[in-house]
Assembly symmetry: D3
Homo-oligomer: 136 residues x 6
């Protein structure tokens, strides 16, 4: 069993705010992250898959394939977008990094499984000082 990880990046706007709460309540719970006019981040996304090395290629998976899959199912949908407003797989969810990691797992798990590899971890840096990991 070997683990291989591919990093991707996307730049997006978001806010942490429940639509069923007013601004004061959102400010109380989410602080400056609730700014009604949005803020944003350079997100770094690490997709880790695991499985057996192919004796034919020396690869677990072709990283170009993993890159294109991640771009198609995640990056193209979220890069230079508003996570709360523009991203289909985040509709109706609070735009926290925790929820983002789980939603990206759900975007990728089945598509990766078709290759014979298994999705192991979604890791997202929101800033260089904090990151979330989800293992399913």
């Amino acid at each position: 069993m070997i683990y291989i990880t591919r990093k991707a990046s996307f730049n997006a706007a978001h806010k942490l705010a429940r639509p069923d709460w007013d601004e004061d309540k959102n400010l109380e719970v989410f602080g400056k992250c609730s700014n009604p006019n949005w803020h944003g981040h350079n997100y770094s996304l690490y997709v880790t898959v695991k499985g057996e090395v192919s004796p034919e290629t020396g690869f677990l998976v072709d990283l170009k394939w993993l890159k294109h899959l991640t771009n198609e199912l995640v990056v193209d949908k979220i890069d230079h977008k508003n996570i709360n407003l523009d991203v289909d797989f985040m509709k109706g969810k609070l735009a926290s990094t925790e929820n983002l990691a789980i939603a990206i797992w759900d975007q990728l798990f089945a598509a990766i499984a078709k290759s014979g590899a298994i999705l192991h971890c979604i890791k997202i840096y929101e800033t260089e000082n904090n990151y979330v990991e989800f293992f399913g």
Copy 2:
């Protein structure tokens, strides 16, 4: 003459779009950076000042002072904000990194000059792959 630099960070939303152009024209010129619903970045800001070392303290400037000044005049106004909508010193300007660097220079130059040091450079990373420098 010695040069000392302090790094600060802020996370903000923006878009590149002229209000006097329609969406198609903005998309043609600014590409995905013109997304009407915004996107955002983790900006890194490097403030470089120059001058003589004080024989009394061994300092050019007290970095705590430079940090507090940068926070007061720049970071507190832009962190977790929308650069186009929320930031007084960017009002009426296109929210490019070039214009941001010039505007931050204007925010800091006179206040730093009062300390006896001279502002030398404002450097802003928008992503890890591109940055702007302004020397006045």
Copy 3:
């Protein structure tokens, strides 16, 4: 189950030396790390907690709370200090990164447990070339 990590930093002096050994013996075992006049590091501390995402907030824990807790129980006691002489939770211990990781775990475990989340890992970089992880 989701994992979230917050990075903190502190700058401290230390030496690796047993008070019951003489300088030659300490030099033999600990090399230049035993310098009697101390040396120091910029330590990076990663605190990882795990648990369930709150459906109300989309959070595992409020990162501002985790930051303040880490500052109160660890960073304020060790930053710009001498680990061997000034830090209550390291009294009587060899100031190795291994012992530091275990001591910081003990500082944080119970306080984090009160939040409903569980401390998962303490990771400390002493330099960019070496780090220690402790999982309890």
Copy 4:
């Protein structure tokens, strides 16, 4: 049980190509990585060992020892070399990062076990955007 990691670096040439395939087939499978005249990387290698902290030294292992062992058994054999042509422990293997991680594990496992510590993970960055981990 504690985990300690030491980073090493090496700069090497390689190509991904099976000698029993022609250039066209290698190009089809391995893309630009199959360039017959080689390409190369700055590899970063992270060696993680686990075990008990010695009450006498506060160490799991002496990092100078781990550094010298890694240099002797790995870095000196691969740094500024061609992985396909010059490296004894990669002879007859496809020079993928996956195979490299497994081969470095095999180089180090027994030698580390003699110290009382246990090799836990070999992690190799080929570029800043992808890395492989092997846990045995």
Copy 5:
């Protein structure tokens, strides 16, 4: 006058060796960098241009254009290649980072000048521990 920098990356093989010297002489002068079977690096390239900000766009230059130009004239010719054997603009030159910086300057200067901006600096990291800058 404002300065804007775009980072690019390429992975390449090379050796430092004069064809008119024998292996011993090359080893004496260039050390392990003269390995006849090549070694390689992940190079980071920073292209800095300078000029006036356009009042119409807030841009000095469109970074997408600068990226495409750098890819066309430099990265596509050198990425996953052998600098000594495969790269037209390095033919007949010693493959040092110094010569590479000068050659990349010559590749880009005139093409950038057509945009109205001026090439200011070519900076190349060969490893994270050394880099070369050329200002023309």
Copy 6:
């Protein structure tokens, strides 16, 4: 004219405190940096030299030579040491990063000049958030 830079690192203890001031006065001026029991840093040192590229070697200077010179004249004297107490070239000086940069310039300037290259800049990071540059 070309510029080449070599990075070195050293880990050292220091404090900012004038011996002719009492603890209260030092605390007032230097804050937590005046801690009587010292603190410390992982310093990063960038030595930049400039000059002409040799047509014989493609080098401005041999980086191995620059590394050994920097080690001999700077790193070996300061790494794992106390800057205030152990370092001959800092004796009698306040251990600020500004004074350290100037003192390292004085250590290296004449020795580098003998090679035909010219020392251009000493840049020191005290933490990842602040650095000093001295150009003579």
